[in-house]
Symmetry: C2
Subunit: 203 residues, 2 copies
Amino acid sequence: MINILLAEDQTMLRNALATILDLEDNLQVVHSCATGKLAFDYMQYQHGQQVDIVLSDIEMPDMTGLELAQHLFEAKMSCKTIILTTFARSGYLRRAMDSGVKGYLLKDSPSHELIAAIQKVHQGGSAIAPELMVESWMEKDPLSDKERRALRLAKDGLSTEDIASKLFLSPGTVRNYLSSACSKLDAKNRIEAARIAHQNGWL
Amino acid sequence: MINILLAEDQTMLRNALATILDLEDNLQVVHSCATGKLAFDYMQYQHGQQVDIVLSDIEMPDMTGLELAQHLFEAKMSCKTIILTTFARSGYLRRAMDSGVKGYLLKDSPSHELIAAIQKVHQGGSAIAPELMVESWMEKDPLSDKERRALRLAKDGLSTEDIASKLFLSPGTVRNYLSSACSKLDAKNRIEAARIAHQNGWL
DNA sequence: AATACCTGATGACAATTGTCATATTCTAGC
DNA sequence: GCTAGAATATGACAATTGTCATCAGGTATT
């Protein structure tokens, strides 16, 4: 019997996944939760030893699936992590691999592939969505930390002034960072830069 | 037996939903597809008479769930439509109600509520997510058609010039539209305006 | 100490964007 | 025909943004 911990913030999908996984003879969802934080707490303080596979979404409030994977990795938990996410962003895959993730698949693949991936990972293998193998060699994140933070705020339409005060920088410096982000990403303005960065999983 | 047509572009969720609905004694997913267009084609040319409930996501490629609902409504199909979507945007709900939709619920609610909603709608009732009843009285979409289209392009970081050529307008006119959108939405710039409009379901 | 390097800041200038007043058509209604 | 109101365009001006050269203060290395 393979014991699974499920982390996914959308309740409908979480319920549905739990149901179809439980339908399999040798799969059992022992716990499911809506944020990475809750999943990590469960692993750390409660019943970690019972869990073989952690199946997690990426974009969740409180703690993302990538952060969860990293924490589990650093805590040397015995479980194996599988990421299940919407977008094929090479930056995400890279971070996942760096965090010792054993499986990475897309929500846009049939559910039997998920079940196959769980079995395969549990037997010691790995399962990466084939769509991603191609892209995984894309250039790595060229942004500095400050550039990234400025871009995130710019994406929501904040003005230079607002960004500057949120980051405790001068407006001029913020414009420098955004300008450099634009040239790195070959974008015409901060918004296009933010879009490109987001599409690549760099935000 | 209630016959269901399922339209949802995310394969994993589509499969999972189909499975859990089929587990119910009196529910049966007769067909499932990934776009509104495919769903409408199925209803129109093939086996429309067998379908009691159309269960549809909103944001799908090719044809959205709201457009699907509108087409089914205008074609006076006998089926009843239920929308299942991620965000609680009052603009979406308004358009759904105008298209004769009988149910509107959020992906962030447990799956048993979906099943209950299907039963209720099939018996002639309606099922609206309670979170939405409050918001539904929000102000209606203040944007004109041109403003909306300009905002959509601005959201992706296109320059005034680019937007103008895509809409076959002069750059000056585009700036007028964006400026008016900003003042209508009380935004400081086009990006903030686009974000506000998107959050309200007006894009 | 001398050097290089990194982060943050400044000033100057051009390009883009936001705002507003004012045309120019074109259409619908009277 | 006349008028009102749209949709579109133009010009002017201010504000914001993008780009670049340069500077000041730290820190690390040799």
